[in-house]
Amino acid sequence: MAKEVRSFQENIRRTFIRFSIVPVAAVSMAVLIIFAFSWITFMASSNEQENKQVSAEITDKLDVYCKMVDKISSGIKRDKFNISRNDIFRILYEDTSEFGDIGNLIVMSPSMKALFTSKDLVPAFLTKKEYANWGVWNVINAYKGQTRITLYGGNLCVAKGIYEDGRLQAAVVYIIPKDVMNGVISSQNRYILITDKHGWVYSANTGRLQDEFGQINDTISSSVGFLKLDGNLYYSYRTALQRGLVVYTVNDVNRSVHLIWLIIAVIAVIFIAIALITFKSTAVSSAKYTRDIKKIEDAFEEVQKGKLDVKLDISSSKEFQIIGDDFNEMLEGLKRQIGRNKELAENVAFSQVKQLESQFNPHFIFNTLDNIRFMAKIDATSADKMIVSLSGLLRYSIKEVREEVTVKEDLDHLQYYLNILQIRFNKRFAYTIDVSEDIMDCLIPKLLIQPLLENAVKYGFNGQEKLTVAIRGYQMQEKLIFICEDDGAGIDEELLEEIRRNLREDTNTSSHYGLYNIHRRISLMYTGDYGLDISSKKDEGTLVRLTIPKHISE
């Protein structure tokens, strides 16, 4: 799978996102988890701790009451069942002083008569005869001589029968003041229920978690830990006391669970907000931070397109500034180099042109001087004319330092050459010149047409009696076309190929200077599809065509 190469900006943006959102997510998740861990630990352990603490407190109190009942019982037994009110009250006050309520201590005879009561109040369940084997009396009878704690009709009673010779002589019943027990649990901030071992609630700091009978809810009494009740979640712990009571501590976890959900929701919202902001801001900031990269990229693209006059202006950060400055410097250098190269190339081209221009001279001059020598013997007038023409031509070629001349100028000076040819070949050579008047002011390279004539003569008179050359010049679109056509012997196919191949070379490798030189000059001077082409047919003639761009001197 080929991995798509992302842009630098995208990478920067992803990096931003990765290093902002991911850590935030990880941290908030870790915080949540740690929070949940510690919350559960704290909640459960504090619940258990409080349960144990309440249990211990209640056990302590029950111990105090039981010991007190034992003390009073043994006192009664010692006094042979003569009740001494003072003794009992003394013990009562001594032992309950810290609780602020002496409670109701009742001494009953076996016939259910109250022998002593500390509060002048004897509950019906001790005196009425239907209770003889019911409730508290039942406990006294069932557990002979033992100090028992029993819950009857909402009263927590410490009961003890005093037996002598296996017979019940008296019973001591102490009704524990409810406020003392309530005081243990009311100040707590979780639900605490004290029940007997069958689940009948004695004291509770809530009206909840009990059924309509006043029994603790089955779900709570039957399990410990997290439990669900009426759609609410609780955490419950229980301790069964030695004395037959059970202490339940129950946390209402609902609010905490709601709180946790709320925290999760808030964190989620914050997280989403952060994510959105990051997403948005990374788009902006990554674009900002990579703006210089973009600039550099654009600059390179411009350069690639050939525009060298771009300039990088970066001031945002040092590194990019250095890159930008270096780029500018490099581009400047490149531009300088290119300029120098161009200049150099121009110089080279110029000197080449000059050299090429000068190449026509030796051959032509030798031929013409030969002719003049010959003519001087037979026709002095023609010889004179030839000398004039030759010197005119030479002057033209030497004098004209300008590279380009007008068509008219060149044609005028071509006349010198035509004169020489006319004299040389006399009637055997004929020519026509047909150049449009409207291109007369256009600029062309000096001595452009002369090599064509020279070429026509060179190949045309191959066994021919007569040669006619037609020179035509006209404008076609933005080009100037010059055609030199003759009806001479034509050029061999082989030779023609060689000439054409030679024209395509950068340097001349043959002895066909004329055509090559003119073609080379044109292609050095003008860039584009300009130059010379040649076609010829054996015994029918040759056609050379020049194409150059049309331009006029300013």
């Binding site: 990880a26 988890i33 559960i40 009425k128 409730g135 059924d211 399990s223 410990v224």
Partner: protein
């Protein structure tokens, strides 16, 4: 890859949390103790002291479910975990006796003779006579001694009566009426029923509790209810009085029914024994206003002793077999009275 590492770490953390919560908050069941599941239509205040004492004496924890008679019957017949139905008159439970465990409590020897003849599917628990309950403040000079007095035009619309199709105590009153006003032949009693329904002014209550509460709260002057409810109202200092119909009082026992499917038959037997024991019956009679089935227990001072009432015998088999027919007939007459 790094990304997978982070994801794995997250998963591990979450898993650890879940395991921790599970371990920390595992709700382990507290050791199962001896227990008994009881359904009962009895009033809650009536049940609490008896159940509490039963638990203390036997160390069997009772799971108590309070509901109406028909729901109680339904749950003991159809639900596996219910061991005992406590309460429900023999008349209304009669058709379902096949679903109950046969048990003869040793206490049966001490029963009054009238209750000794019941089959062993039912353990008779108490005697519940039908009574009229009168609001002393509202009744004025009108003397109510029996059914005949209810036809007094002044009382029209002031009589509380529940739908016999829904309330078992109302059905027992219907039976009582038919036998009492038909002079022992229930088919003769419909003439009175027709006049009686016209006195109701078209109003039938949905449950028996609305009857005694309605009278106690003064919404009605007189109501047709059962003795224990009236005694409970008396004990809570409502200005009401109990009238035993001079035409005759039908009194049917209610019972304790042990489910045939119970897994805790032994505990259920202990329950039946305890509830029919002398101590429990004595306490019930003295403090809760309920008539004992035992010979050796004295009635509460609030109720008239059985021998002073005009006891009316009924053919129980006939009542059980005609129950649906009679309820239908009552509905028809009541509707006719209302429309006419």
């Amino acid at each position: 890859m790094k990304k997978w590492g982070i994801a794995a770490l997250c998963v591990i953390l979450v898993a650890a949390l879940v395991i921790y919560i599970d371990w920390r908050g595992r709700s382990y069941a507290v050791e199962e103790e001896e227990k008994l599941v009881v359904v009962s239509p009895h009033p809650i205040e009536f049940m609490i002291p008896l159940i509490h004492e039963f638990e203390n004496e036997t160390d069997i924890s009772v799971e108590l479910r309070s509901c109406g008679t028909s729901v109680a019957i339904d749950s003991i017949v159809n639900r596996k975990d219910v061991d005992i139905m406590w309460g429900g008159s023999v008349l209304s439970v009669g058709p379902y006796l096949d679903n109950f465990y046969q048990y003869e409590t040793p206490n049966k020897a001490e029963y009054m003779d009238v209750f000794k003849n019941e089959g062993s599917s039912v353990t008779c628990f108490s005697d519940v006579p039908s009574v009229l309950m009168v609001n002393n403040d509202l009744i004025g000079d009108i003397e109510i001694t029996g059914y005949a007095d209810l036809l007094n035009p002044v009382l029209k619309g002031k009589i509380a009566f529940a739908d016999p199709g829904r309330s078992s105590s109302s059905f027992e009153h219907l039976v009582n009426m038919l036998y009492a006003m038909g002079n022992g032949n229930p088919d003769e009693g419909w003439g009175y029923v027709k006049k009686f329904t016209q006195q109701l002014d078209g109003e039938l209550l949905d449950s028996s509790s609305l009857v005694y509460q309605g009278v106690a709260n003064g919404k009605y002057a007189v109501g047709l209810t059962f003795e224990e409810a009236a005694v409970t109202m008396l004990k809570s200092d409502k200005h009401v009085s109990i009238v035993y119909m001079k035409e005759g009082v039908v009194s049917t026992p209610d019972g304790i029914y042990i489910s045939k499917d119970s897994d805790r038959i032994e505990n259920a037997k202990k329950f039946a024994d305890f509830m029919t024991s002398k101590d429990a019956q004595q306490y019930m009679a003295s403090d809760l206003g309920r008539r004992s089935v035992r010979k050796d227990v004295e009635s509460s001072s609030l109720v008239v002793p059985r021998y002073k009432m005009n006891n009316l015998p009924v053919d129980r088999n006939k009542v059980i077999s005609e129950k649906d027919k009679w309820i239908e007939e009552f509905d028809r007459i009541n509707k006719e009275g209302r429309d006419g």
